[in-house]
Amino acid sequence: MSILGQAIDLVLSADAELGRIVGLSLRVSLTATLIASLFAIPMGAALAIWNFRFRQVLIVISTSLMALPPVVVGLMVYLLLSRAGPLGSYGILFTPAAMIIAQSVLIFPIVLALTREAILPLNRDYENLLNALNVSPTQRLKTLIWDARFAIVTALLAGFGRALAEVGAVIIVGGNIAGFTRVMTTTIALETSKGNLQLALALGIILLSIAFAINILIHWIGSFGRKYQVVR
């Protein structure tokens, strides 16, 4: 098909503009992933380890958040950051920071759930030993997070992939401003709407390659992690 051929040509002749778009995409999604995981990893681990009040409530909330369509997340962040909203005075609507916030909200429940899932069985294995050694709560968190690191990195990559591929939220809060908040997905949406299907497809190919690379990474890390797992 000629449109695919043209798209591949476009990818190969990538210009500076395209590079900027891809770069911004990566930077926004990477930052969002880091910020989300800063909260989601310890919280996910805590949910796996301890039985505290509101634990069930938190789990239910985070699982529901996961089912939330990105557009709704985008809309909520939009209303929050709009000048008419509670955080309006910071003036970060239609900036990369707004996109980072929206993506963080999107990623948070994913990383939280996957971290909890990774730590639950590990905690079952370790619990007795950690009790016997009288390990403090912080040390416990550190130990379990560290020993579940392969699974957690996989969780982060999953979150990153979702952030990178997401369009509904970032187009609302970022505004798809050329050269400023235009990322891969919003460019794809825009070029599709302009009928520039080959350019849209070219970006799709890049996005696909990144997703592909992420998945290879996930598999590779997974196989590395299995080496340390007790098979009994």
């Binding site: 930077r27 709009s82 239609f94």
Partner: protein, 278 residues
């Protein structure tokens, strides 16, 4: 700890992207998609050092953004909504900028219509035609609703598809299902996936499509950058910029007619297909 530092670094490095001297324009996809801004704005930035951030959405949404104070300037195409925006105190200093027109597009060889009214009447009284409506409260959608109303037609039934999407999506869909749709000429000319579509009706007074620029009222939203916004507004209606707008072409076709100052004799001839300003 290292992790946290890395996070902060990344966040701030992204934030530093935010240059100080910029204004935000809430505008419409039709102007954006035509490529006019890519052509025009770098010149403004070069002359003034002010960066212009365009958030391109439907006219309805653009007005909402401006009402919330999330933009400094509004540049849209629906006169009565614009007037209401100013009358409600949200905007000041509305000015004409330019115009083009709407066109009815549809499958090339399917039928010949005498005029717009005949086309719309035929659509609504027969099941052989499909009409795709933006359904997104954009300027084009508002105009389309007004057209049906003007001919006393009620667009209802299987043949009338409200897709709730932008002009491009409406054109993409029309091309693939052989349907009719109303488009602004700018988007139509710059659209890259026309397929079997062509213009089936144009040039009538009712299809006149003027664009206006409005400053967001600093009395309502004290944070708006009124000085820079005014600078932009003044710049866009200046004779020189008006000429530049008139010179903007795509595939050899002129897309917009400047009309900020009709008496001013700027050297631009508007396409004959486009209805004249009254």
């Amino acid at each position: 700890m290292r992790f946290i530092t890395a996070c902060c670094f990344l966040l701030f490095s992204t934030m530093t992207f935010a240059e100080d001297k910029f204004i935000t324009i809430a505008s419409t996809t039709s102007t954006q998609n035509s490529g006019l801004y890519d052509y025009l704005l770098p010149q403004f930035t070069k002359e003034t050092g002010i960066d212009v951030r365009v958030v391109a959405v439907g006219t309805g949404q653009a007005i909402k953004i401006a009402k919330n104070g999330d933009a400094d300037v509004l540049l849209v195409h629906h006169r009565s909504s614009e007037d209401a925006f100013v009358a409600d105190g949200f905007g000041i200093d509305r000015r004409d900028v330019m115009y083009n027109d709407f066109v009815l597009v549809g499958p090339k060889d399917k039928a010949n219509f005498e005029n717009l009214e005949a086309a719309l009447t035929t659509f609504s009284s027969s099941n052989d035609y499909t009409f795709v409506s933006r359904g997104d409260d954009s300027g084009t959608h508002k105009r389309e609703r007004e057209l049906w109303a003007a001919f006393n037609l009620s667009p209802q039934g299987d043949w009338y598809r409200e897709i709730g999407a932008g002009m491009g999506a409406a054109l993409n869909m029309s091309a693939s299902i052989e349907a009719y749709t109303l488009s602004d000429r700018g988007t139509w000319l710059s659209f890259g996936n026309k397929g079997n579509l062509d213009i089936v009706a144009q040039g009538e007074d009712m299809l006149f499509n003027p664009y206006g620029i409005i400053l967001v009222n600093p009395a309502k939203h004290p944070h708006v950058k009124i000085d820079m916004a005014r600078q932009f507004s003044d710049w866009i209606i200046s004779d020189r910029t008006q000429s530049i707008i008139g010179e903007f072409t795509l595939n050899g076709m002129q897309l917009f007619c400047p009309n900020a100052n009709p008496e001013q004799n700027i050297d631009v001839i508007c396409p004959s297909s486009v209805p004249k300003v009254d």
